[in-house]
Structure formats: structure tokens, C-alpha cells
Amino acid sequence: MKRTLHHPDSKPHGRTYWRSLGEYAKTPDFEEWLHREFPAGAAEWDQDPLSRRNFLRLMGASLALAGLSLSGCRRPEAHLVPFTQSPEWVVPGKKLSFATAQPRRRGALPLLATTFDGRPIKMEGNPLHPMSQGASDNFAQASILDLYDPARRQHLTRGGKKVQPADWDAEILRIREEAKSTAGASLAILADEPLSPTRERLRMELLRQYPQATWATYEPLAPGRDLEACSLVFGDNSEFRPNLSAASRILSVDCDFLGSEEGDLADTRGFSSGRRTRKPGDSTNRLYVVEPRFSLTGTMADHRLRLRSSAAGAFLLELARQIRAAKPSAELNSLLSQSPDLALPEGVDPAWIRECAADLVAHGKNSLILTGRRLPTPLQALVLSLNSALGSIGTTLLVQPRRTTPSSHINSLAAKIRSGSIQTLLILGGDPVYNAPADLNWPALQSSVPNTLHLSAIPNATSQAANWSIPGTHYLESWGDALAADGSYLCIQPMIQPLWAGESQIDLLSRLLGQPKPIGPALVRETFAQRSAQPADKIEQAWSDFVREGFLANSTPAPATKAANMSAVAGLLSQIASSPTEDPTSLEAIFMQSPAVDDGRYANNGWMQEWPDPMTKLTWDNAILISSETAKSLGLKNDIIKGILVADVVQATLAGRTVEAPIVIAPGHANFTVSLPLGYGQDALGPVAQGAGFDAYRLRTSTNDYQALGLELKRTGRTRELAVTQEHQVMEGRDLVREASVPEFEKNPAWVKTVGMDAHIPKNQSFYPNPKMDGMHQWAMVVDLSTCTGCNACVTACTAENNIPVVGKDQVMKGREMHWIRVDRYFTGEPETPESVSQPIACMQCENAPCETVCPVNATVHNDEGLNVMAYNRCIGTRYCANNCPYKVRRFNFFDYNQRAIDKLYWGPLAPKGTEETIKLQKNPNVTVRMRGVMEKCTFCVQRIEDAKIAARVRARDSDDLKIPRGTLKTACQQACPAEAIVFGDLLDESSEVSQQRALPQNYSLLEYLNVRPRLTYLGRIRNPNPAIPGARTSYVTSHGHEEGHAETHAEPKSDASPHSSGGHP
């Protein structure tokens, strides 16, 4: 019975499906982009030798358009839109990866971009590059969302009015003429620091053309004192980087080298490699941390001393003396010859420093002292000298040639502007109007220049204040190059045509130099030719290797072995002052980088706004962090009211400048010191950033860019509700994170089985014969709590991979955040000096999953490979599964988070439906975008598993070898984890990493007594305390022998450390 149905002619239009990417928005901007992105005619493909990057027709046939034009009530007519011409490389529906790099101020990150039909959808680390080895971090993951940020939609504007590209061309000409006439004296350029050799090359050319032009760089979080100190100690043109993989004793003084400001992937990887204690006898590094606020590094510390930042000098001088005492040497004598004799800060036990110094000395070249790169130069110089004295230069501390050439400081540029000599100010990237030192009064300064231009990938406060706002490109849209932290040369290649007309920094510079509009990678190729030094016949091959692998092989400079110039340092030490006495009316302020929005550049990124701060679990806000004693003495408090953190709002005054901000009581924070996270309060940046947090830059001056004294906090009597994802931060005596010291581990490697309820599990627990899971693979995951730093990169990676929606502050406050993996943070030990542990929790894929049996419609069941799978299209949303999940990893779509604006969720059908078109482009087409009313959860990245299984079958064809080769399949969280704390694989493969780790005695299941048999297990955390340190906690195991009673053995110290632990526990 065949019926021929004739559809009326209709244009494809209509409605958005559940997972629909397939809809052309009829907005002019978007259409304009489509035209540029997918040039219609065939001719253009031929002209461009780089056709593969002239990317694809978005609607490559996999994305059909659904229309509502119904014919005969049967189905909406849909259209298949094939490529007119098939682009090279591309198979519709198949993903491709390209190497690229994300520029960073301290070293670019080598990355791979996964693209799908021409859309980059996910960033991964470049596994070939030693700095990444496949890992990535939060900012790399989040940068993909920045690419598609609708707030980037902008035009060339002059004085706020849209202008044509021709006007802009004319303006460039005018600037050139003007600069030529003054030899550049009228031209100033203020740039951010992307560490791009091509930009550096163009800068030099520019300075050749216009010798009197000013080139200043400004990075609010990289004032360059580390470089200053390094050139002082090791001579000009040098810089240092730590090599933590060689370090067995590490002392960090106010240096969060596991965090995102100070550290990079190599640091975390290096540190973790020394932390991986698998069996008794394995060596374990030891970390001493001295810091004012609890940092990620502090959570990994074996010994943590909380100390005001201003007391670091006194501490370091005493440390130097103790090192000298333990290992007397002439150079140390000379180093300390002029050092002031400062009293030790209150509460610091000299024995602590003595024992620490002795430990460092005992490990000689394998010890390492690190200090924050924004601390005063003398301290940094002192620390470099001490490392030299310990013999660690070349092993744990590498000195390498400096990657940048010095340029002017923003302060000297400001002076020039004030003098009136600058006619044209070109600002490349950055946002000085927002983040320049408050004492410069930059907004006024900038407006005093007759002509200001700002090139920025996202329009910000500076763009608004500039005469010309020039759309810039995202790094995924343009050619470029960069240097990694180790100095290796990286390629940045575009993955997509600029979504909104944009120009890259190097393109603009080259036009300023009078060169024609550059085509493709010409500028980078020129730099590459210089750097690679290949003969002409091999350059083509070298270039293609460079682009394919993402970096120039062997471009890492060899570390230099240089002796420290201690006498140069000795003179500086007299500048070290002791910390003023603790005074609640004159506090120490620390301007910290925000781990969520960095210096503010990610403030309009929904993923990062919703990303819980690893320590405070705060989202969508920043807050002044203070210790509980400080709060008490100032009469400030945090309350949990109806599950919401209600924080007192204070007025913070520093040198006459004032901001208002909520306070959050941070366990382990040094007393009478407050931390002010930067980067928030940017209402100008876009709808996401609007209303989030306060702007701490308004208190920060050029001299106090890290630490300032004399801050005053005044109660305003007002409060602010803050969205935290974890209100309760103590374990309540439960055996969730299991810890042991190294001696305890060596005494009983299986200590995890003697802890808590696990000590009482009867044998033979199961009531039923279990149906066999007879899959070819049996998936499992192990998380090593010893190496997990709690950085939350897994959270962002998962967000990007699995199309996790952003729900907004209001929903987070209600407890409706959607993250499939979260990192639980608990504080243990004494309330004053707590320790901290972190525990990533994703769906455990329990073999006996309690969620499954309660689902009435079989929407969540087990598959034959041990996965707890979730069929979204079957789910009716009873939420019973979430109630019955002991780990609370299931997330529910309370609203249509993917379809409705997060500020109009309660409007229901009255709110406009649909997602921003560009945001849709980011979605992973292999993962269903969930609709309202369905439950969702981690599936061990089942889309990757299925892809790998399909690939294995396609490869197998008529053979029977369908196994996925070991190591070829990684979950998103595992792939991102720089600490390699997450291991995923097949249990049936006995030699797989996951099988081996599961067999370790320290492997345990969370809540094992429930007999849910999780497939995600943990390796107990092994700490390496030094028993000689006064007050050291050496016993972590609270065993439950069967002979003991229960109640009194839950002896984990009752802790009130968390400010959020109020409520129900009298």
C-alpha cells in the first residue's frame, strides 16, 4: 500500500527539535556569517590553497532542517542539504581533530580541537606535547564557549556607530600617515601578552618603522617581578620554571603552583608523578605549604602553615638562616649578610621552619622552594638563591632563556599620555578600562587620548570607552603562534571562519606596517621559516608537520645551568620588612586571581560562572575571603538560611577607595588577612557577567597589585545570597575520603578496608543471583585521591563534552546545578588549622544500581558492559532514581534549561523559546541535548565508548576482533585531568591500568556497605607528613576493628571548620 504524498513547495523553516542544531536563524548577523563561513561559489574553494580550513557548510547533510509544513498529517517535511562541492578531508558526520594552542600570559597551552562538520566543539590537550600530554585545564575547556559567546556579536564601530570596513581601512592609513609624520611618537600600543613570536616579530618591525612609538604590555596578573628577580639572580634574559617531577621535597611560600594562576599542566603533572604511591616502599614527595588562604596547593600539603602574605619575608629569612644552619656555606653567609633581623610572625613555631629546612637540605637537589610570582622581587630573588644554595637549579628549578623582550609598563605609558604626546592609542586585547591599576585612573587617561582603538575578541569596557572598537578574533578563528611555558614553539590554526567579522592582532599589526591584508597563515609562516631554520626544500614538509602536530619539534630551549648571583640579592634583602601586628581595623588585602574567571576574561562565560570555586564552592559571584576569627572580631557572619548561604556585605576601604562585597568565611585562611578575588563585577561584558560579583580591581593600585596593607572592612548591615554548590563541608565522621600517612600505609596497605562501615560488611552479601553482564568490555574507573588536586578541570571538560546546560545563579542556589561530575570538598582536622580533601564524584555505575530498580519505565537500566545507561527519551521524570542514588549524582532538568533564557525560566511558555544559534554550534552532536523533565547523569562518556566500539567493528569488518585497543578510549574527565588521577578502562583486560589500580589494596568503594558495587572506585589518599614537624598529624586511619564499639570509634575530629556547616547538628 504505497501512497505518494506530494509536499507543497516550502522553504525549510520551522521548529527546533530536541537535539536540533538544524535551524538557520533568520537573524541578519547569523546569515551574514553563514555566507562568509560557507562561501557559495565553487570558485573560492579553488583559489584558496587551504580549502580544508575554509570550512564546511554548516548544515552538512547530517543536520537536516525540520519544518512544520505538514502534509497529510504524517511528518514534517525535512530537507537534506548536501555540500555543493565536497570539501577536502570532510566526511559529513565524522569528527576531526586539529592541533592548535591557546595563548596564555605565562605559556600557551598546546591543544587539539575536535571539530564536527566544521564546528569546533571540544578542546583536548595535545598528547604529543610534553607540556600537556593530552591534559587540559578549565580555561582551555571553557574557551570553546567563549568562541561561541553571543556577546561577541559586534561590528566595527567608531564612536559607538557602525562603520564599514572601508572606513576602517582608511583609518589604518590615517594612523600610518600620522605615525610616519611623528616617527611614531604619537602612536602608542598597549597590548596583552599572548607570547606570540609572530606578534613579537611584527612589533620589532613596527618599532623599526616608527622608532619612537610606545609599546607597552599590561597583564594584570603578570607584573613581571618573577622575571625581574630571575634576571637579578641568574642574569638578564633568563626566566625560570619549576620541574616538579624531580622534586621530592617542596616548600611553597604563597605560591599556588597547582592552581591556575601560578601553575600549569606540567606543574600538576610533575607534582602528581611524585605523589603516586602504589605500594609500600614507593617514594612519595612531601609538600610544605605556607600561605595566607587555603589554595589548591594547600589542600595537597602534607604540612600547611597559614601565614599572612606580608609575613612571608620574615618567614623566608628565617628559613634561609635555618638552611644555612643545616648546610652552612659561604654563599649563604654572603646572601644573608645584610638581611634584617625580623621577628618571626606570631604563631609560627621556629621548630617548624627548622625541621622543614632540614628536610629540604637533606634532599638537596631534589628539593624545591617556590614562591608566588606576584610577591615582592626581593622575596622571589631570595627564594631563587635558596634553591641555588640547595643545588636544585637544573633539577627541580629550570632556568631558561627569557621568551619575551621587555617592553614598557603601563605606568610609563600613562605618563606619556599625561604628557600629551600620544595622539593614537591602539589597545590590543586586554581590558585596561576595567583592570588597569586604580591609581592610574585609566578611563580618564584613555579618553584624554584623541584617538583610541581597541581590538578585542569580546567587546568589553575598554571597547566601549574607545573611539574605535574593532572586532577581534578568538584563537580558534585565526592563525597565530605562541610559546609554551617550556619555550617550545606552538602553532595556532583556525578551526572556523570568524563567526563575526574579526581581525587578529597580527593581521592588524601587519596592516599597520603597510602590508596588504594577510591571507591565511602567511605571517605565521614567515615567523616559522625564521624559527625552524629549515632549508627551503624542507620547509614545506616542516610546516605541514608543524601544523599537524601543533608544535615545532625540538624547539624547547635547553635549560641553562647558571650560578646564582647571591651578592646581588643580598642588598635587596634589607627591603624585606616584618609584617605589621595583627589589627582588625587594618587588614592585609590579597588580590587573588579568580580560578573561575581568571583576571576577568572569562566573566561572560557561563560555564566558568557556574563552575564552583574549588575551595569555597561559590558560583556566579566572588566574595571577600576571611578567616572565622577575623569574621568574629569584625562581627561578620555567614548563615545558611533555607539552604542558601547568606553572607554579610561589607564595605572594604583601601587607601580611600571603596567597594562593597559579601564575605565568605574560608577555613584555613590566615587571620586578619582578606583575599579579594579579581575579575568580577563586569556588567559591561555581557549578560552572563552582569550582576556577578564585585570588582576588586577598584582597590588595586600599581604598587599593591598583589598584597596591600591597611584594608578596612565595615559592616553594612546588608546581606547577599550566594550560590554555593556544597553547603556542608565536613564529613560528619563518615568514611568518605580515606586517608593514611605513609607509615600507616606501609603498615597496612589495605587500611581502607578497616575504616568506617566497611569494617563491618558481612560476607556473601547478595540476595539474588545476578544476571551476567556478558559484554566484551567491562568498564570501570578509578580515581586516585592522592593525586587529585581538586582543580575541577574534569567538571569543565564534562560540561563541554556532554552538553551540560548552564542554569544560572538562582537555580544553583536552589540546588539544581547540572554538573555530572563534581568535586566534593571536605575540611578535616582542627577548625583553626584544617586540612582539606577533595573527592571527584561522578555516577559510580553501580553494578547493583539502586536507581535502576525504582524507575517504572526502564529508562535507566544496565547494559552488558556494566554501564548504568540512561535513555533520556524514555525518561518521564519521576525523579525516584535521584532519590535512591546514594551518591546524588543524578541531575534533573527542572526547566527547559537548553531552550529558555535562564533569567526567564519561570515564565514558562511566555519566555521566548530557543537557544542562541552560536551556542547551538558548540553542542556535541553525539550527546542528546536533554529537554525539560528528564533526568540525566554521567554515563562514562558512553558516546565515546560507542564511537570506539563502532570504530573497532568497522576496522574488524569480517574478523572477530572487536576489542577496543587499550588506551585508545578516554572519558572527557580522564582526558582533561592533568594529575592523571582518573583512570578509565576495561576490567576484562587484566593489564589495563584500571584493572591494576582496582587490584591495589588501597582501592575502595564509596559506601561499600550498601553493596551497590560501584564501578567507580577510589584509591585512598596517602599523605606524607614529617613527624619531626611540631604538631604534625601523623595518624589518619581510624580503624574499626570488630571488637570495638562503633559510636566512639568514629573518631574523626569533630570539626566546625566549615562556615557552611551550620544547621542540624547540635
Binding site: 544476571p771 526502564n858 537500566v861 547494559n863
Partner: protein, 195 residues
């Protein structure tokens, strides 16, 4: 409404109390009448015996209903969970009695109830909205406080005069002939009621 002797339905008598009706019924039953009935506002204890009824068969329908319910529940669960699409949930067996019990029970009860109602309706031939006795104007007290006995004309022993005397003899008052409305078409099941 035309009334001929052919449309005579029966002869009705009213009694003063439940007790009187019971006595009358015993006597009519003893006389061997087949087609007759008593009407009362509530069930009278002992009347079934007086009228010589056997046990009601409703329970048989209930039993059949219960068996169907249980069988339905069992086959539904066994077929869907163990045969057609076995799925692993919480590592439990594809089919087991324990978790199936609640649905076994509920479906059994449900179909039993249906069987009972079906049995009741079939055995009483209800709903039957029209009935000759409703033509008797005193009869409306049958749902209030009246006690009635009706001898039907179709009974072989029925005879207008002797039956009237019989009814008078056993204490019936207001003895009235009840006529049938003319029939538009035969009753779908049976023209008259008799059990």
C-alpha cells in the same frame, strides 16, 4: 395505555412489615409458585431461605475474575521482563516472584471486582430501567418502607381469582393487578424475570 388480560403481568400485594412479608413468602413458596418475587427496601434476613433460593452464583464470577487477573499479571510480567526484553536492573533476576507480588495482587483484586460486578449484573439482569411493577402506584414505597409480593401471571399456578384469594389469605393488602406496557420489541435477553 391499553390493558388487556394478555398484558397482565401479575398480582401485587402489600404487607405491613418485613416479618409479615417473610411469612407470606414462606407460604407462597410452599404452594409451589415459581414466578413471583418479594420487594423490600432492605434485604430481609431469612428471605432467601423462605423463597427457597440456593447460594448466589456471584462468587463464581469473582473466582473466575480472580484467576484471570492473576494469570494476566503473571503473563504480563513474565513475558515483558523475562522473555521479550530482559533488562538488567540493579542486578536483579529478570523475573522473580517477590517484586512481582504487588502487581499480581492488585490485578487479581481488580479483575475480581470486575468479575463480581459483571456477575451481579448478569445474574440480576440489571440494568433494566423499565419494569411492569413500576406501573403500580403503591410500589414506589418499595424503596422506602413498603413490603410487596408480586405473583406473576406467567406462573402455571397463577389464576387471577385464586391467587388474589391466596394473597388475601396470607395477609396481603392493596391487592392490585399489575399490567405490562405493550411491548415494542422483545426483551433482548428474556422477556420476564425469573431466577
Amino acid at each position: 395505555m391499553s390493558r388487556s388480560s394478555s398484558s397482565l403481568f401479575g398480582l401485587g400485594a402489600e404487607f405491613s412489615s418485613a416479618n409479615a412479608l417473610l411469612g407470606a413468602a414462606e407460604k407462597i413458596h410452599a404452594k409451589g409458585f415459581r414466578k413471583w418475587d418479594v420487594y423490600s427496601p432492605f434485604p430481609i434476613h431469612g428471605m432467601d431461605h423462605a423463597m427457597g433460593f440456593k447460594r448466589s452464583r456471584v462468587s463464581l464470577f469473582s473466582l473466575i475474575g480472580g484467576c484471570i487477573g492473576l494469570a494476566t499479571a503473571f503473563s504480563l510480567i513474565y513475558y515483558t521482563s523475562a522473555l521479550n526484553y530482559p533488562l538488567i536492573t540493579q542486578g536483579k533476576p529478570y523475573f522473580a516472584l517477590e517484586p512481582s507480588f504487588p502487581i499480581f495482587f492488585e490485578l487479581t483484586i481488580l479483575i475480581t471486582a470486575f468479575g463480581t460486578i459483571l456477575g451481579l449484573l448478569l445474574l440480576t439482569l440489571l440494568p433494566r430501567l423499565h419494569h411492569p411493577v413500576f406501573n403500580w402506584d403503591r410500589f414506589q414505597r418499595a424503596t422506602d418502607d413498603g413490603f410487596f409480593l408480586v405473583l406473576e401471571a406467567q406462573d402455571p399456578q397463577f389464576h387471577s381469582d385464586s391467587s388474589r384469594k391466596l394473597l388475601e389469605g396470607i395477609g396481603g393488602t392493596h391487592i392490585t393487578e399489575i399490567f405490562q406496557d405493550p411491548e415494542e420489541s422483545p426483551h433482548p435477553v428474556r422477556a420476564e424475570v425469573s431466577t
